[in-house]
Symmetry: C2
Subunit: 628 residues, 2 copies
């Protein structure tokens, strides 16, 4: 293994068609340029996946990537990234997952895995400390998450094996199937599980025993101690109540997506909030590798549903998408919905929004029981919602329609249903209301993955809560602005913050620890310096993020997207009819101007990265190497 | 005085028409946005000087500005900046000076002085610890530098008074007259001395006794100790031989401008090199406030010329412009020329290039003794060169033509002389050959001040000498590229480096200490943090530079410049006929493309900063506030 100026790493290339497995080493300069995570995904997709490739065909590649910090014993460094051309959007697909799998991959001596080709029969990949083999998975096909993980650990005879896997949803090519690990961690969005399913790859099991190398252990410890001593206090709310604490906060100010984004609050929202979880079904805190905050929950329900604690508990997105956005405030049912999504392994956001889409169509008589197979798909019908999750995962009945996501489903169900299909570029909108957080709305429009809250700013709601004040202040670019502001100043903050998020997806670090918990720009740079030995700076890490965002953009342009796709569902350009956001639409003219501001700042005239900008980012090869 | 988050500062506004003097305080946020130096110049010129103002009229303003670090006892922090609309270019004018005056200004409690209006009779401004008064200067008018400084110190009764002043050149409105201080330090370029002369302001005398406040003294000391202990060693060549060491180095590789840029080397160049100076006329080293490197020289010549040591010794630019570029290699004559330029107070670069222009015209019979008043203006004629300096400074005879600079002189002397007028935007090209350092050639083209080596990269010649390797490496943007390379990668390095230079002009710090001596991005940021208490980062300081460069651009656009002006003299698009650079032109097509790469990276489509970019930089006010 080559020593990479402070850490060890290799890329494993697995051709499922020929069953050839090889290890590639890239020079240190490559790692520093493309970093890992999202950066690797962008690079390999642009370099190796041909234009127009079928996302579910042999030409697509599925990339698992850690980052330079992954696996070091520091909070926030336990994540990994999965990317491929998205079957849901037809463009750049990528999602990050927490848990322990990414750290284990690094301890096994690998930085990334590229899965290419397709297997004819189900297989899984087993990696142990630098050795890798493909194994038959016929007997595992069809298994849900818990059963699968148990079976693989038993088969390999090591209970500490970490497994990344698909469930029935991925096998059935549900277009928003996820790839999960550790039962409660998900590369959730853009349908990476469908890509894995199309390749008949059920799982990747990893076991490693090598410590990740650290260039300057003493200096590293100082940063780690800071994280250990400070982040649990700074993020006390997250530690005590998990992400579920957002339910009540957002409901109060009208930003809790409800009834398929028709409203921003719902009666009895407080019954599905983090506080109620803590006081009722909570068993214990859980978290990711080396994390001192532990924002995940373990919950237990015995009746009327049986919810297995091992699947963890519902997070904010799940409480919103299966809950308020479906008109449902039954916490136990939502704990069950969460367990089902985790067992079938699908994206709870896209799944929930697909169901809420169908509910609104149903309430407006655009679909009937004839379409739904007799299911009374009213808002608030808990049993119908739970039933639909199963039908979607198994692609049975009406589930087969909703398994395609709202963009395709609305095409199938008729033009009148379009207005209720709440997505950008085919990706369903997550549980952050763009009429409240209007900066994030811009983020939805310009993220290469579509409507995604993991590549962009969460807006000044959080700024006023001090969450990334320090970061923007160190650029002297912080100005407190109203949530509805769409000025160039706001877009400037959004752009810097978005590049920071893209960096975190390259590194592959946790937003909560690195950002909300105030580790911030300088300390994260210091972490990179101490681990890798690179003489880096805040300016470089923002540039890494900018490069990654630009690669995602280039991929989408190559696949036919244009600036016209950088918009929001029409619904958000109207105000709500009641609640705190009554008559507060996203102003369409201001919004369109703000998208252009973003292009201006990124150096993308008309949405297309300029030649000089590509040179600046070291991406000049893209022009000649791809069809851009 | 308001405490500005760690330091004290005010802006003194002096109206020479009404004789009203007032002090303005700006909030900390203003200082952090516009910083000082070049940033203040850009701000006040855009805000306060009306479009189309006569550079030598009452509407123009002359701004003297220190920066947040000026006057702290750290190497590189002893400079100040002077700016105004340039009478030479008609656009953005600005130059920085070393010495002790800037530090004294800060110790007197001021960050900047804005001179506005015009006086009818000669005056000078006297500042003592926050008090300021205008004094009659009728008796000082006409004085050369040394005589003047002595007179003012005697009049004010304080031999430690620091004086910034004009000489006869400024009084006579020589368009490239400088403003000097301490006899050997110059805000040299773009004709700031003519602006001061037009306002009949002979001098600004300053005396201060307040220490500049430092937010974190202990941390500050660590940086200062590093500079004290390391820079004299890192920059040993500069310390031992001064900038004059460049003569031989550049001559050898064909990059010593000779015979009005017709050639890149000259016979006997080694006789005017730093080593010969050290071994012959050298008296002692001199330097600026708190500087451990001391790159300035003191020299003494008794015959055939009498050169007063108090005026310092010739630096590289002067040895080139009056020397090789005029075909002259007589060191004693060049020491005299330097003394004369310093006594009359004019820009030795523009003056030398004006003379070399005339020499080439004369050799090609485009002008004759009839034009020159009988002077045999051949290349190599030492006496003619010395005579012309005097005639120019006094605007006598043919000197009156050359006092206008080469752009105007060639207009006067006929179209055929155009080809020998080596300038960009009216500013004469300094002693760095753009056919050798082709990246710097781009810098000449896009600098808001015209052909100027103080706002941009000095190209990979220095990179290979390790000079700013560390800085570009901390951005991971360093690639060793040939000197003639004009790729987007090269332009990317140029752009980052140019923004860094612009930052140094805002801060107002020394390029040699902060850059060549490897203080670098991170340590300079640390210096800012320790002095001001600002939570800053490398990303912010580059942004400060980008903002300043953008303001200069906006000012020029407002005054009618377009992207068409961002070019080089035609001479450089041809190769030389002999020497190391024989047949190595600047490739015009590649050059034009490189300028567009720069626009791309800066966010200036077609050379005009985009609306989003202005918002990002906090310059959105410019669109509505000015005629842009």
């Amino acid at each position: 293994m080559g020593a990479l100026n402070g850490y060890i790493g290799k890329v494993l290339r697995v051709d499922l068609s020929s069953k050839i497995i090889k290890v590639e080493e890239y020079p240190d300069s490559f790692y520093r340029q493309y970093y890992g995570g999202e950066g690797f995904v962008g690079y390999f997709l642009l370099k190796e996946v041909p234009q127009g490739a079928d996302p579910l065909g042999a030409e697509n590649k599925l990339i698992f990537a850690a980052g330079p910090l992954t696996g070091v014993p520091a909070g926030g460094c336990g994540r990994h990234c999965v990317g491929a051309k998205s079957p849901l959007t037809g463009g750049y697909g990528e999602a990050e997952s927490g848990g322990y799998w990414g750290a284990e991959l690094k301890m096994a001596g690998l930085d990334a895995i590229i899965i290419e080709g397709m297997s004819h029969k189900p297989v899984y990949l087993s990696i142990k400390d630098g050795t890798a083999e493909l194994k038959d998975a016929s007997h595992l096909w069809g298994m849900k998450a818990l059963e699968l993980q148990t079976a693989i650990r038993e088969e390999l005879g090591d209970a500490r094996t970490k497994v990344a896997y698909i469930g029935p949803a991925g096998e059935n090519l549900v277009l928003y199937a996820s790839i999960a690990n550790d039962l409660d961690a998900f590369a959730g969005r853009t349908g990476m599980g469908a890509v894995m399913g199309s390749k008949k790859l059920k799982a990747i099991a990893v076991r490693g025993h090598n410590r990740v190398q650290i260039a300057d252990s003493e200096a590293f410890k100082q940063v780690v101690f800071w994280i250990r001593d400070n982040t649990p206090t700074i993020s006390r709310g997250l530690r005590d109540l998990g992400t579920a604490r957002l339910v009540k906060i957002l409901d109060t100010i009208g930003g809790l997506p409800s009834y398929n984004f028709k409203f921003g609050s719902i009666k009895e929202a407080d019954t599905i909030d983090g506080e109620v979880i803590r006081d009722t079904i909570f068993v214990k805190r859980r978290g990711c590798y080396a994390c001192p905050v532990q924002c995940k929950r373990e919950v237990k329900v015995d009746s009327p549903y049986n919810v297995d604690p091992r699947y963890g508990g519902p997070e904010y997105e799940t409480l919103g998408s299966f809950g308020s956005n479906c008109g449902i405030t039954n916490l136990k049912a939502l704990a069950k919905a969460n367990e089902m999504a985790n067992a079938y392994v699908l994206d709870s956001i896209s799944c929930g929004v697909s169901i809420s889409f169908a509910m609104e169509c149903y309430e407006n008589s655009l679909i009937t029981k004839k379409d739904t197979g007799g299911i009374d798909l009213r808002f608030g019908n808990t049993d119908a919602m739970l039933k639909m999750i199963e039908l979607i995962a198994l692609r049975k009945g009406f589930g087969d329609v909703l398994a395609e996501g709202v963009a395709r489903a609305s095409k199938k169900l008729g033009k009148a249903t379009d207005q209720y299909a709440i997505h950008v570029k085919g990706l369903e909108v997550p549980m952050h209301e763009p009429r409240l957080k209007q900066g994030l709305g811009i983020g939805y429009a310009i993220s290469p993955t579509g409507a995604d809250h993991c590549h962009n700013i969460h807006d000044t709601l959080y700024i006023t809560q001090n969450n990334y004040l320090a970061e923007l202040q160190s650029l002297n670019t912080f100005t407190p602005l109203p949530l509805t502001d769409l000025s160039a100043k706001k877009v400037s903050m959004l752009t810097y913050y978005s590049n920071w998020m893209h960096f975190l997806n390259c590194a592959v670090c946790c937003y909560f620890i690195m950002s909300s918990s105030l580790v911030g720009f300088e300390r994260t740079s210091e972490l990179v310096r101490t681990v890798t030995g690179w003489n880096t700076s805040v300016a470089e890490i923002l540039r890494v993020g900018e490069r990654a965002a630009t690669m995602g953009r280039l991929f989408n342009l190559r696949e036919g997207f244009t600036a016209k796709d950088d918009t929001l569902p029409e619904r958000f350009f109207d105000g709500m009819t009641e609640g705190p956001l009554k008559d507060v639409p996203v102003d369409k003219a201001a919004f369109n101007k703000a998208v252009i501001y973003y292009f201006d700042i990124m150096g993308w005239p008309d949405g297309v990265p300029s030649e000089g900008k590509l040179g600046e980012l070291g991406l000049d090869w893209v022009v000649s190497d791809t069809h851009c």
